[in-house]
């Protein structure tokens, strides 16, 4: 199984957090390094000053080098922190006073300015300052080396405090960056989410191009999406056109076949042949009806893209349909009544589609009504809506729900021998939807079906 790639938000947040972490660590190291070197420089300065102060007290003379160790030198060293102090004064390579085993730099460059180095003495890490002086003894210059060592516990304490502070600063910076990265991720991904919402909100048949305002980076996606939609629409329309063409081309020869079959039925006297002819006529009738419904459906789908938008008087339409279906109804001993169509009820819409929907409803009613019943057509305008109802005394819905019956090529369980394609209700529902209305199919009290087409009045 292919693993889903990481979410953009997560990826963005993680990468920003990574950058923030790196920057926080850099900040921590920088603060630490700078503070440590500052602390070391300060302590070196004091240590150097103490070494110089001692060196200044060196005195020559006739008997040898003497030294008056200044109290303040050590006291000041001790005043910054309680650190250990070791010292050593060498004259002519011999230790004059102090700790004779205190390490001296191996490559002692004679220098008046103190030289600093780090070493270990008596298991303690120490910083050592060394300075050299020439002292005259018996008029002969003697090289005296003064070394002062100090442990760095005070500096370590400072370093520890600095490190804690630096860590706190780093953590705070990281927390701030984390917060900002969440906000950034949200604002960067906002347009994508809004585009997805805009596309997701569309109805199932909405194949218009996406014109949602999008940032530059999303434009290629929108363009591709629109291209895809256009291709899809093209393919659909070609399919419907093909179906319509096919239905049209089938219907005409079928009419001819039917006419010929009826003539043959009338002329033939053999029972067997007449029976065959009746079956042929029934089959042709069924095919012709299916073809005509396919054509209707194709028309609905095709026209839903470019809807003819004009005023349609429903009362006139209903009366016209009642008239045109009159002969068919009479053949089956049915009566069609029309109520509420005395004054015009006008809606905005596509006359052809509305007519097709209503014709399908009336056809259904005629098909499924038992003889000597009435089909009641009614038109009413209420609450800003026009309601057209077709009521029959037929066999009802047979226990199946409306959404099921309205699916393409699905027919009721109780159709028995009645011919049909299963497209009729689909067409009605689609027409209702295109016009922003609704279609309701219910069982009628006392048997039969009540089909209601509700359209908004403009």
């Amino acid at each position: 199984m292919k693993q889903a790639p990481m979410s953009l938000r997560r990826r963005l947040v993680l990468q920003l957090l990574g950058i923030a972490a790196v920057l926080a660590i850099l900040l921590y190291l920088t603060v630490r390094t700078v503070a440590n070197s500052a602390a070391e420089a300060t302590q070196d300065g004091v240590l150097g000053a103490a070494t110089m102060a001692i060196a200044e007290r060196l005195q020559g003379g006739d008997t040898g080098v003497s030294l008056d160790l200044p109290y303040e030198a050590f006291s000041i060293l001790g005043s910054i922190s309680d650190d250990r102090i070791f010292y050593r004064v060498d004259a002519n390579g011999e230790t004059l006073t102090g700790y004779a085993d205190l390490p001296l730099p191996r490559h002692a460059a004679p220098s008046v300015e103190p030289v600093f180095f780090s070493d270990f003495y008596r298991e303690f890490a120490v910083r050592i300052a060394v300075t050299n002086r020439a002292v005259l003894v018996n008029r002969q210059p003697i090289l005296v080396t003064v070394a002062v060592a100090q442990t760095r516990q005070g500096q370590e304490a400072i370093a520890q405090r600095t490190a804690n502070l630096a860590a706190a600063i780093g953590l705070a910076a990281f927390a701030l960056a984390a917060l900002l990265s969440m906000l950034t991720a949200g604002s960067v991904l906002g347009p994508i989410n809004r585009l997805a919402d805009a596309v997701g909100r569309r109805g199932p048949h909405d194949l218009r191009a996406v014109d949602h305002p999008s940032p530059e980076e999303l434009r290629p996606l929108v363009t591709s999406l629109n291209g895809f939609i256009a291709r899809l629409r093209g393919a659909l329309s070609r399919t419907e056109t093909f179906i319509a063409e096919a239905a049209h081309h089938i219907r005409t020869p079928l009419a001819t076949v039917r006419a010929r079959a009826e003539i043959a039925l009338r002329q033939s006297e053999a029972d067997e042949t007449r029976e065959t002819m009746r079956a042929v006529i029934r089959a042709v009738e069924e095919s012709s009806r299916s073809a005509s419904q396919l054509l209707d459906h194709a028309t609905v789908v095709y026209r839903s893209d470019r809807l003819a938008d004009g005023p349609v008087d429903l009362s006139k339409l209903l009366q016209g349909l009642a008239r045109s279906h009159g002969p068919t109804a009479e053949l089956r001993d049915l009566t069609i009544s029309v109520s509420g169509a005395d004054c015009p009820v006008t809606v905005q819409g596509d006359r052809l589609l509305l007519e097709s929907a209503l014709r399908n409803l009336i056809d259904n009613a005629i098909k499924y009504s038992p003889p000597e019943t009435e089909i009641a057509l009614s038109l009413a305008a209420r609450d800003g809506k026009a309601v057209i109802a077709v009521r029959d005394r037929g066999r009802g819905l047979g226990g199946r729900s409306q959404p099921e019956l309205a699916r393409r090529f699905v027919r009721g369980a109780n159709v028995d021998d009645v011919v049909g394609s299963g497209l009729g209700l689909t067409i009605v529902e689609e027409v209702a939807e295109i016009h922003g209305g609704s279609f309701l199919l219910t069982e009628r009290k006392g048997g039969g079906t009540c089909a209601e087409l509700v359209l908004p009045l403009r």
Partner: protein
């Protein structure tokens, strides 16, 4: 008293019993455990066992399993025992701050961290290694009889002028420490010389009056009481106070210009066999109970920051690396040479 005489074994000159020890001890006292002995705490100290006895007994009441061996030696010997002989003790107590400081500086003192040491003010400790449990002023003691009606001086300048104006009264009757023989005397003299030039003026004047030199405060106090001395300079106030209290003749003077204040300190050595025991005894000395016992029963003033700020003339000797300076070989030589030439003018 719970403990009676025989329980305390006092052995003079311990060197006979313990030939391995090169340093010279003055006294060894054994305080047996009150209950079943589970640990031994050995203390090396410059303070007499009798002075700390009440505190030690109270400590053992709180720790019945602890036996305490208390060895007394001079401050120089205490230093030698730790630095040179590497003798193993659990607590080292000394009034020689400079030597204690040097031992700690050179790495012989272990870190000891406890609630009791945390309460100590910063000036009374160094690096969580050395801790002061008593602050003792260094005073002048005078005999009213010996002064023959002369006013008792309150500053060094008063004293200098008095000696200069009345040499006959004081000739041969001035006592002070011999810094060559006594570590405490050397510490007092050097700290005073560091604090003020008046020390050298005083030394010069006193030097012309055949001063008598001592190695201990106790001797100076007793010579003052017998009338051999008219005054003794740089005496430990904690010894002088109780001994002259009942004596109408003796006067203890804390100089108003400044009075050195010595810190009696202790530390747990790195070599301690029972550092927890040594630290526990140190904690006891620093505790409220221990401090009260030190004040009331030992006569040692406990660590008291308020007392210091109430008496601005008291100047505690700073427990810092500066103390190492006068231990420098050349520095000591130079100081003692100068001191000798000031003091012996006859």
């Amino acid at each position: 008293m719970r403990r009676t005489g025989p329980a305390l074994a006092v052995i003079l000159s311990l060197a006979i019993l313990r030939p391995a020890a090169a340093f010279v001890t003055e006294e060894e006292a054994l305080f047996p455990a009150a209950g079943t002995r589970a640990q031994t705490v050995t203390v090396l100290s410059t303070t007499d066992a009798d002075v700390l006895r009440p505190a030690i007994e109270a400590f053992q009441e709180a720790n019945p399993d602890a036996e305490l061996r208390y060895v007394v030696a001079s401050s120089q010997e205490v230093y030698a025992a730790i630095a040179e002989d590497r003798a193993r003790f659990d607590l080292v107590i000394s009034s020689a701050m400079d030597l204690q400081m040097k031992l700690a500086n050179d790495g012989y003192a272990a870190r000891w961290d406890s609630a009791a040491t945390a309460r100590l003010p910063d000036w009374a400790k160094w690096q969580d290694r050395i801790f002061a449990f008593a602050q003792e002023s260094v005073v002048l003691i005078a005999s009213r009889r010996g002064f023959q009606g002369l006013p008792i001086p309150q500053t060094r300048r008063d004293l200098t002028e008095l000696l200069r104006d009345h040499p006959d009264v004081f000739r041969g009757r001035i006592g002070t420490y011999d810094p060559r023989a006594s570590g405490a005397g050397y510490l007092f003299a050097t700290q005073e010389a560091r604090q003020s030039d008046s020390f050298w003026r005083l030394a010069e004047v006193a030097g012309g009056l055949s001063p008598r030199l001592y190695a201990s405060s106790i001797d100076m106090i007793s010579d003052l009481k017998t009338g051999r001395l008219a005054l003794a300079y740089n005496v430990l106030g904690s010894y002088a106070g109780p001994r002259l209290e009942a004596d109408a003749d003796g006067v203890v003077v804390e100089f108003a210009d400044f009075t050195l204040t010595l810190l009696r300190t202790g530390f747990v050595p790195t070599d301690a066999a029972n550092p927890v025991g040594g630290g526990a005894f140190l904690d006891f000395l620093l505790s409220a109970r221990g401090q009260a016992l030190i004040r009331d029963r030992a006569g040692l003033p406990p660590i008291d920051e308020a007392a210091l700020s109430a008496s601005p003339h008291l100047r505690p000797i700073r427990l810092d690396a500066g103390l190492l300076v006068y231990l420098d070989r050349l520095k000591r030589q130079a100081f003692l040479t100068e001191w000798s030439s000031a003091m012996s003018q006859d």
